[in-house]
Amino acid sequence: MMPHAAEGTLQALLDGELSRAEGAEVERHLETCPACRAEAERLRAASDGLTAALALLDRPAATGRALDQLGRRRWRRWVGVDSGQVLRRAAVLVLGVASLASATPGSPVREWIGELLHGAGAESAPGGLAAVAPVSTPDAPPAGEASAAVSVLPDLGRVRVVVTAPSPDLRIRVRLSDDSYSDVRATGAAAGARFRTGPGRVEVSGAGPGEVEVVLPRSARSATVEVDGRPYFRRDGEGIRLLAPASDSSGSEIVFTVRP
């Protein structure tokens, strides 16, 4: 009998990365092994949770996929070359190669030059390509405002958000949601914060005097927000405890302001 399947093997099965024979062997094992079946279900649930999170929030990802499909369609058209279009396509190819050489991905020198001329994120779109802009998500901050966010699934039903070494006057906005994941977003002057994550945990450190928005899943058995080791917010089961004075708790959100 096959021994218990490793987590990597199960993940590979879920990701469709096993060969047909390997997949069949693991599937057969899952039929007879409750422990591995439960582990596979756990991994599948975790994967589904992330997929669901992406489905809700992933419109730029959809843009990426659309671009990908667009590229594939173009590539397929290139494969089906007919003789009457050879010269035209050769000219386009030459132009394309020239654009590639001078525009971006082929050349590190181009990347350097771009950064020298335009600074960070300067790979701006020339010509009509600028029209292909990312689609903003409903949760995204206003255009031009810097932000960074990390979402994590609870681990064994627990989720913990830790804020360390915050700037004075950092606002921490906490709310609950029906999503299965916890979302931690740093915006404004806090956007340069460093994120650290482990199973069921997101740590935000060095946040400037902006805002950290924390969304906690109602489905989590336990959810905690800590600031420099001191608990600010805790939800166990159905109960919520505020362990630090909130600057605003009138609405559906609770806002803490870090004081020195």
Binding site: A53, L57, A61, G71, S99, S124, L129, P134, V150, S151
Partner: protein, 783 residues
């Protein structure tokens, strides 16, 4: 993803993602972990500091997944806002069971085969756990364990010096945390002098080097010590047959740092003295050794890090008996110290400064006391038999920069090496007796080299990775070597990869050993000197072709290589290798060489058990003075099977079985019997024992080699002082079958004729044996 899509995506504003992957709790960095932006199939591999960079992540929310061998993968969804960088550190939880003690993967900064693409020909890397589990002679041995990989061979059971792909040990560089070590051996080379408990992994770069690697022509053996855990102090140790070792590591008293200390000391002298007293052995061995290593890692804010490594290895053979004639006072050892400062500048650039000093030195005095008939004792009025000293010193300063692009990674750097090779065998009263073995000489070479390199690693797609670079080494009067370095890796599927690589390498030093002397099978220590100025730098060109296929529990890796050596200092072919001395100070010729071979490494792991099978087909040749010959370390076929299996819930058995074809030797094809004409006898009569007539150099082969080593261990858990403590008694038996493997062959005459006719006048071939059956036991502990 198509080129058109790549072009479009690359033109959008993008964020950079960078950070570290560490073990949860202990906070030790995890080198070789993969971080992937799943939807974009953008993958990075962490470097030795656990650091990764993924440039140009398009705006949006992406799943970012970190995975490392032996740890549970962890995934989060990250929003990249489209400008600046996002710093994201992962803490991974250890899995209960670790498999796969041998990894095969590309260079740092490249991508493992399981991910997408990589930079070129892979290196093989041995996990520290495998180092400790491989059965070894008396002591767990880093250099012996690495010989289970197909690229590395040993010349004998008595020398742990690495012979890699047709190169001799002086053509391989052993580094400890990036610092080159010189002669890191104990007991004449019987085992390596690096504490296995401190080792995190050993990597073997056997060819097609990246531009940042040098400067040896055969290989680089990178020994990386682990970084201590930062959550608590942990201690390890072992009491073995001939020595004990102790290690301790944990967080520094000040914030942001960790320390790791390990040390080892022998009691071989006491053990042999006891054995002598009991009559087990005829004489004790007044030999001692100790080694120690200290590593400090300090975070300097942000991701900047300062690392310090210090290493010392001391050996002595001191025999000063009162009232006896002979006095021996030998003392030798190596030392190394290094400092590395590394810091990133945003997510696009990182830089490193390093300085190091490494040395090997020894002094060897053998004295024969004179008999004073009046006082009826040996007096201090002495005669020197041997008075010799040797020294290698290497001071290093270097700097490197890495620029992380979206699809490119540019690396540039420079390193200045200043050497001193100082050796002296002083005149003495017994020159005639010793100069065959160690001739008188006095040499002092002080070469310096400056190496600069530039390399671009380009990943035009997930499947393809190209590496192109250049290394230039200037060595003053000894010339300048221009060394192109190329690598290509193509991974058409997630389970297969093909690669090719080529490059040139050069080195400024060589060993004064006579490589064809039988003594090289016994003494591992190299006596290094600068290559002759007239000859210039020794250069090698190599070509590597390989591929890898892996599934969940099986990895198969095949690599073929060809290497050509030029300007190799080679000793003249000896008339009699058996009588040839150890050191040849001046008579080197400019030689050439080739080596080619095929290496297969199959690794199977399932349920806590693993088997690594390495097969090597190799052929090496040297040419000097117009004569071509096979060097004496050459073995045509080697099969090395190394396996581990659970023994109950807390035990483990391990076995290593090696078969290899015999090494070459020079046959005796006849004996000339000198005759003298004696008129009184009426003609010629035989005079003396005769003179051996040697055949062509190394045209015969010794019998094949076979050895089975077994080991077993079991752990016991106890709580001491409120903390879990693990004791692991172990038993290892080397050469269980007591196979009489041959060290060298020698002709014998004068043996008793079986017919009872007295001493025979005929020659017969005798074989000097290698290691007999040898049990080793001890206990390891972890607190």
């Amino acid at each position: 993803m198509s080129i058109a899509t790549l072009l479009l995506l690359s033109l959008l504003p993008a964020s950079d993602l960078h950070g570290t992957v560490r073990a949860e709790g202990a906070a030790t960095p995890l080198p070789g972990a993969t971080v992937q932006v799943v939807e974009l199939k953008r993958t990075a591999t962490t470097d030795e500091r656990g650091y990764f960079v993924i440039r140009g992540v398009e705006p949006g929310r992406w799943t970012v997944r970190a995975a490392a061998l032996g740890y549970r993968p962890h995934a989060v969804v990250v929003q990249a806002s489209g400008a600046g960088s996002v710093r994201l550190d992962f803490d991974l939880q250890p899995e209960a069971v670790r498999l796969d003690p041998v990894e095969v993967r590309g260079r740092e900064g490249s991508t493992p085969v399981a991910g997408a693409a990589s930079s070129g020909p892979g290196e093989t890397r041995l996990d520290g756990r495998a180092v400790r589990l491989t059965p070894a002679l008396a002591e767990a041995d880093v250099l012996r364990a690495v010989q289970s990989l197909p690229s590395v061979a040993a010349i004998s059971d008595f020398s742990s010096a690495p012979y890699v792909r047709g190169g001799s040990p002086d053509q391989s560089m052993v580094t400890l945390d990036g610092i080159p070590l010189y002669n890191p051996y104990h007991l004449g080379g019987l085992f390596g002098a690096i504490d296995p408990d401190a080792v995190q992994s050993v990597g073997v770069l056997a060819g097609a080097f990246p531009a940042g690697v040098g400067d040896r022509i055969s290989s680089v053996l990178e020994i990386r010590t682990r970084e201590a855990e930062r959550d608590s102090v942990r201690a390890t140790g072992a009491v073995g047959l001939i020595s004990s070792r102790f290690g301790v590591g944990g967080p520094t008293p000040w914030a942001g740092g960790s320390y790791l200390f390990s040390g080892r000391h022998t009691y071989l002298d006491l053990a042999t003295r006891g054995a002598e007293a009991l009559g087990v052995i005829p004489a004790s061995l007044p030999y001692g050794f100790s080694d120690a290593h200290l590593k400090l890692d300090q975070d300097l804010g942000g991701l900047a890090r300062l690392s310090f490594s210090g290493y010392v290895n001391d050996e002595s053979l001191v025999h000063r008996p009162e009232g006896e004639k002979d006095l021996i006072d030998f003392d030798w050892g190596s030392e190394a110290v290094g400092l590395r400062l590394w810091r990133p500048f945003g997510a696009r650039l990182s830089g490193e400064l390093r300085a190091a000093y490494s040395a090997f030195g020894g002094r060897f005095n053998a004295i024969e006391r004179r008999w004073d008939p009046e006082r009826q004792q040996y007096t201090d009025s002495t005669s020197t038999v041997v008075h010799a000293s040797t020294g290698v010193q290497n001071a290093i300063v270097g700097a490197g920069l890495t620029w992380y692009g979206r699809r490119h990674q540019l690396r540039a750097g420079a390193q200045l090496d200043a050497y001193r090779f100082r050796h002296r065998v002083a005149p003495n009263d017994f020159v005639d007796e010793v100069d065959d073995f160690v001739p008188l000489f006095d040499s002092d070479h002080r070469p310096a080299t400056l190496a600069v390199y530039l390399e671009d690693e380009w990943k035009p797609s997930d499947a393809l990775s190209l590496r192109a670079g250049f290394r230039v080494m200037a060595a003053g009067e000894r010339g300048t070597a221009w060394m192109p370095r190329l690598g290509l890796r193509y991974a058409p599927t997630s389970s297969t990869a093909l690669w090719a690589g080529a490059g040139r390498s050069a080195q400024v030093m060589h060993s004064l050993h006579d490589a064809e002397s039988v003594s090289t099978s016994i003494v591992a220590y190299d006596i290094l000197a600068a290559v002759p100025e007239a000859q210039g730098l020794t250069v090698a060109d190599d070509l590597v072709l390989g591929g890898e296929w892996r599934r969940a529990d099986l990895t198969l890796r095949v690599e073929a290589y060809e290497k050509r050596f030029r300007s190799v200092p080679v000793t003249p072919i000896p008339d009699d290798p058996l009588g040839q001395g150890l050191v040849v100070p001046e008579e080197f010729r400019e030689g050439t060489g080739t080596s080619r071979g095929l290496e297969v490494l199959a690794q199977y792991a399932r349920g806590g058990a693993g088997l690594n099978a390495a097969y090597t087909l190799a052929k090496a040749e040297r040419e000097v003075d117009g004569a071509r010959f096979t060097p004496r370390f050459d073995r045509r076929h080697t099969l090395d099977l190394n396996g581990f299996a659970p023994l109950g819930s807390r035990g483990q058995v391990s076995a290593r079985l090696v078969f290899a074809s015999g090494q070459p030797y020079t046959p005796v094809v006849g004996v000339m019997a000198p005759h003298v004409f004696l008129p009184e006898a009426g003609g010629f009569v035989e005079n003396g024992n005769g003179v051996l007539v040697m055949g062509e150099h190394n045209t015969a082969r010794l019998p094949g080699y076979a050895r089975l080593d077994l080991g077993a261990r079991r752990s016991f858990q106890r709580r001491w002082f409120g903390r879990p403590t693990t004791f692991t008694p172990y038993l290892q038996v080397l050469n269980v079958l007591n196979t009489r493997n041959v060290l060298f062959a020698f002709p014998e005459r004068g043996y008793e004729d079986s017919a009872g006719g007295g001493p025979s006048t005929r020659l017969r071939l005798q074989h000097a044996p290698q290691l007999p059956v040898f049990p080793t036991f001890g206990v390891e502990w972890r607190f």
